[in-house]
Amino acid sequence: MTASAGTRLSLLQAVSSSLALLAVTSLMLGGCAAGPTASLDPPTLTPWDSASEAHGLDTRFVIYKGVADHTNRYRSVVSVGRYDPNATETDETCSGALIERRLVLTAGHCVCLPHAPTIPEDRSAFVIDGTRCAAEAAVNVVSYTPSQKFAGAARAVSEPYKGKVVPHPELKLWLSRKGMALGARADLAVIFLDEDVGADFPVTALSTEEVQPGTPITIAGYGLREWNARSSRIRRFGENRITEVLREAVSGSHYLLTVGEGAHILRGDSGAPCFHVIGGTPFVVGIATVVASEKREEEEPQFLSVFTSTNQYLPWLREQLGRAKALRQRDTGKNRR
């Protein structure tokens, strides 16, 4: 048991050191994070690790990260980041979805910082929970107009907003020393915007039905276009299919898994919504949590995208929607007076 855990750790290290970006991350963490002294052994819980082994992967896999949303189909998908009132700029490094004119749904790890574990049960190097969240988050609403002159270009208008962060009360992620996710629970947070995005804004609704394996999904976000590539932060969307609905026993969390050819989440897509499109209308079924990649020699890696299923958290989400509506009505009343 101990031996196998050790083997896995070294394999993870071998893979991560081959990825330049991860190597940088680990360097920066290693160089300055003084606090964490927790055991380096990853917890035995790695829900998507075992799931991935169950799926055969297509070796002809081609990375396909969707198309630019120049026709503005997913305007409700916004970029999200922690907001620091003293900073001279805002960093929107995540994505999210406007599910109400005053409410953005995103991943908890987008707005809350990792820290050393505070209880002995957490055997990972770092954890993310509700104790180190930013008070406020920055949100950018982006609208596109396709260029009349040539394909592949659009005008974009980006409008900044900010609001108060409320993480899910059960939020918890376990991270390795290199910042890799070993497990996650309720990786959700909402942002109550200071200001309404407008009465005519096409916000998206949450799905009230649980999705099944095989359900076609659309992923939309501001992440990078290709693995290890660099690109500008443009909203893209692409299609894929749910491979598996994982009901993880230990954490009690439900995840939607997508493996193989089709659109995947990449860096910057954390918090991005996964939609089930019914009759042309998108309904949120999941929020992007992590991507797992399989590194192959001289080949493009393959992906496993993991979304936190929103269905499981509908009672909490409805409560937040109710609060956002009440907030909006209260402010509207104030303005009238």
């Binding site: 394999l11 071998a14 893979v15 970006l21 991860l22 190597a23 940088v24 991350t25 360097l27 920066m28 963490l29 300055c32 994070a33 998507w48 690790d49 991935s52 082994e53 980041g81 907001y83 620091d84 001279t88 700029e89 805002t90 960093d91 490094t93 995540c94 790890h109 809350c112 910082l113 990792p114 820290h115 770092f126 993310i128 920055a138 950018n140 002159k149 040539f150 394909a151 592949g152 270009a153 974009a156 208008v157 980006s158 900044p160 907003y161 996710a181 992440g223 660099r230 690109s231 500008s232 860096r267 910057g268 954390s270 992007a288 992590v290 991507v291 797992a292 990649s293 399989e294 496993l304």
Partner: protein, 317 residues
């Protein structure tokens, strides 16, 4: 026996993890960058030790790794440039440029002209006028500071197409190890088809004199920032000084760790107490050293191009 599969689950916004060590700095760019820098060092003059701190501009709040964002829209003449590929129209380029006349954008030759691969691995790759794209996309970004969200800005982005006109003498030779063997006239003009907007940014004048050691340089670019997730497309200002210069090449004392890809073609502006003027065009991503191609030896060509692009009847700038 099949290869054992190993999976790597990573939290997507690396900034979350990076931000965990606020205040610490790293001098480690991506390994590929540092190896490129090493391979290029042979062909470059030795870099002097970093400038003493009293020489550096007093901008305490600005991270040396990132540079400040141009939220005040002071440099809206600085644009993004990418060659137009009809088969891959969405492709993000990774270069900058500067409008030197309303319809004219100056960039680096290697931004819009590809390196023609050599017949065998021991020969050099060539960038020449014949290897240039016919057309390029120029993306302009306008910022306006947000009143509601302090520190944030509204932005407008638009794309225009133009014809690529490389300098006739353009020739960059790249060795098998990726280092620049020689570089001549690494400049290109993009002549925009039309400007649909009435917005004409303030045009920065061309420098009349050559670069001098110690000149204050402002580089304005949209480069990829690893610290914000490898994204491109935010206009940032970075300050440095001229270390040394030759006839057409200017070396800068860029602070360690500040390199991010996507800065080639961006303007190297000389700041004096009285003015800002265009000194050169960055070749930062070629060979890995912080250098600019000086426009000084090519100013006659630039003036001719500006003259040609200026509609008859209006005064040349």
């Amino acid at each position: 026996m099949p290869l054992q599969r190993t999976w790597l689950a990573s939290v997507l916004p690396f900034i979350t993890v990076l931000a965990a060590c606020g205040g610490c700095s790293s001098e480690s760019p991506a390994p590929s960058d540092s190896s490129r820098a090493r391979s290029a060092s042979d062909s470059m003059p030795p870099r002097a030790s970093p400038a003493p701190s009293d020489m550096l501009p007093d901008k305490g709040e600005v991270s040396p790794q990132r540079g400040e964002v141009d939220v005040e829209n002071r440099h809206s003449s600085v644009v993004m440039v990418r060659p137009y590929d009809p088969l891959n129209p969405e492709d993000d380029g990774g270069c900058g440029g500067i409008q030197i006349a309303p319809l004219l954008v100056l960039t680096a030759g290697h931004c819009v002209c590809v390196a023609r691969k050599p017949a065998n691995l021991t020969e050099v790759a060539r960038i020449e006028p014949s290897t240039c794209a016919r057309e390029a996309i120029v993306t302009t970004v306008t910022y306006e500071p947000s009143k509601k969200v302090p520190g944030a800005a509204r932005s407008w982005t638009r794309a225009d197409m133009g014809t690529v006109r490389p300098h006739p003498a353009l020739q960059v030779l790249i060795g098998p190890d990726g280092s620049v063997t020689s570089s001549r006239a690494d400049l290109a003009i993009i002549l925009l088809d039309e400007l649909e907007e009435d917005v004409t940014p303030a045009i920065v004048p061309l420098a009349e004199t050559e670069a001098q050691k110690g000149d204050s340089i402002l580089t304005v670019s949209y480069g990829y920032e690893e610290s914000v997730g490898g994204a491109y497309g935010t206009r940032r200002l970075r300050r440095s000084h001229v270390l040394t210069s030759t006839d057409e090449r200017v070396w800068l004392d860029e602070p360690a760790g500040s390199h991010s890809q996507g800065n080639s073609g961006s303007p190297c502006l000389r700041e004096t107490p009285r003015s800002v003027e265009l000194l050169g065009v960055s070749s930062r991503d070629l060979g890995g050293a912080p250098t600019c191609t000086s426009i000084h030896p090519y100013r006659d060509w630039l003036r001719d191009e500006i003259q040609r692009a200026t509609p008859k009847g209006s005064a040349p700038p």
